[in-house]
Amino acid sequence: MGHSEDRNACLREAAERTLERATPAEAPPTQRLWHEFQVHQIELEMQNEALRQSRIELERSRDRYFDLYEFSPVGYLTLTRAGLIATANLTAATMIGIERKYLLVKRFDACVVIADRDRWQREFRSAFGHETRRQLTLTLMKGDGSTRLVLLDYLRIANDADEPTLRVALTDISERQRAIQCLSDSHVLNLAILNSVPAEIAVLDRAGDIIATNIAWQRYAHENAREPEIPVPCTNVGGNYLAACGSGAAAHAGFEAHTGIQAVMRGQLPNFSLEYPCYAPRQRRWFSMSVTPLDMPDGGVVVAHRDITDRKLAELALARQEAQYRAVIELAADGVWVIDDLGRLLVVNAAYARRSGYSHEELLTMRIVDLEVEESPEEAQAHMAKIRREGSDLFEARHRAKDGEIWPVEIHATYSASSGLRTAFLRDISERKKNRAVGLALGTEMENVLRVHVARQTIAALAHELNQPLNAVATYSDAALSLLRAGNPQPDRLRHALESATVQVRRAGQVVRELLDFASHGDVTTAAVNLKDLIRKAMSRFERAPMGPIQDRLELEPGMAAVNANLTQVEKVLTILIQNGVEAVRDTGLEPIEITVAARSDAAGTMARVSVRDNGPGIDPQILPHLFDPFFTTKAQGLGMGLSISRAIIEAHGGQIWAESEPGSGAVFHFTLPFAS
């Protein structure tokens, strides 16, 4: 009211000023009255004008509110106590899907889907009993049969004049509901994806707290927690992963992981991965960890662990195998190559590098044609074809060294179809070639050269004999160590291991002594030896040996003098000859095996001749000349060293060894030794 009084006072003042400008200041009483009347009239007109203005404004405002009401995104309804729709805005009509003119006086219940109708009716009755604002979510059925989810917000309006009504605001929440559903679906989908991955995955926030994990992670954390030996820091949701990495249990890999995760979190690294071993009490496992940043405003990272034990074990096994290969190849006295289809050298060993004068690096850039002399493409092709066809080939070629020297080489090449690679063993045969040339020219020199050759082969053969006892010693010792580590639970076994090792060491020692004797074949220590004792000793070995029934006979010339010989070595020769005889008979299946050893003086009386005769099939005259060649053998097994060793021994003693055979009546081996003077 105060406001309108002010306004009236204002009007009055304005009317007075208007009249003052039209009339003089001084005026008589009638004139004053007239003035008063005029002022009042003008005041009324102005009041009228103001009223008109405010009515226009009111109408505009009403129109605005009406528009707001009609086009508001919220639907408005007024319901009577009987449940009829009294008023509705356009939005409400659209939501219900019925034109407004048909909507009015329709029952609102009819628009609610049947499933929700009871609930609504209860709520509707209750709403009329209270004067509080309430809410309810309902599904409405539109005129076209489709449905939508609506949030109802309603309040009972009561004034004295009219019947109370229910004012209802409807908000369509179908879209929102769908979005929520989508969000929840995608969350379920994400979880399902996470859980289907075999890797162990955790999501960390910026502070390193674990905010989500997949099933694999949870299972791993659970299993680890059961190992009492490993103190496992908390790696469940809510735990801090960075703290877990930094704890003592995670050791060095943990520190690296800690640094890596932080670098990814700070954006210093686009991502980070780490492979690390994990020592469980019973087995060793390996894991690969990868850290990927989360592309979200809050930052954070995804940490994934994968068990790569199988791969790692395979890699280690492969590496070990390769190391074994490499060791053998590098130690070899001969050259070794691995060559691809184009003739490029993929692997070459130290022995070849030494002989050729090229460095290892240089050789790896070269091809066969750079090293071989005079092999035409046709020849090379022919070799290649043979290797492919038969799997291997043995041939001679000539190679050029870095300094231009040309050296002859014997090549043994094999081809692996699965890898497509060729492996070649290259032996420098210049010595052999030279020896052959010299030997042809100088018959006497040849003997020496051959002897050297024989000695070398002998050493190779004896190395095998040495390795056997050494191997036994190695395994006995390892077994003894294992027993001791276990607290010596079986003293008898421990004693057996150590005693056996000792026996084997003696055996190896004996081989070494023989080896040394051979290496110094020029000055074999000899002494006067009684042949009868020597032969008896050699034969007695076979009496104990499990070789089937053997009838051995000894035929000795009475009163024979002692010979000048090395007991061990000559015994070895006799052993080899008797053994050969026994095997020759046994292979034919004849029984009994008859071995006769005879000793007598030769015609000149300076040498003793020892003969070993068997009752086998005899020796093919064709192979008779090659019997004493190194590596010549007719047996399925064995190196073919026995007779060549025997020859080296007998010749070192100044004697001779040879064989005689008449087919059908067995073979005889003779050797001679000088009498002790």
């Binding site: 036994a472 190695a474 056996s500 064995g638």
Partner: protein, 198 residues
Amino acid sequence: MTPATVFIVDDDAAVRDGLGMLCEVNGLSVECHDSAESFLGAYRPARQGCLVLDVRMGGMSGPELHAELNRRGSILPVIYLSGHGDIPLSVRAMQAGAVSFLTKPVNGDELLACLAQALREDELRHVHASRLADLSTREREVMTLAIEGLSNKEIARRLDISHRTVEIHKRHVFCKTGTTSLLELARLATDHGLVDTR
């Protein structure tokens, strides 16, 4: 199932005894043979384990025994023991499918590591073998042809069955062998000598 056995074949009694003892005190069960022939007499394909084999032996040599085992379709992993100077032999041994070869005198830890690896390998091979054994004759036929590179249609024509049936057999084969690709299947079948892809 019988436990895995380490079969030691070496003609040297001391080597045999030492190896056997080392294995036994480390909890492995051992069976020693003094020759390849004796081993072959006791050999049963179902027995699990691995073979420690000397290269140089009287009678049948190590590689000859290995070749014979391969011919009989054995899947027993083989570890060679060899001296120096047998390089070409060692290379051939590895090509014939040995899991490793060790040089005499052998390092105990290395041998035990190799044995552990070989026994693991053997177990895996047996699992694969039993999966392959589950296949029916028809499934096996379909597998062989598929590995040869024939299409479903060609296989159907060859075996005189419907295209659809071939698909079902193929699915069963993948399912039973636990493989997911033809390549994987081919490798498995080749390893067990069921098909020759060369």
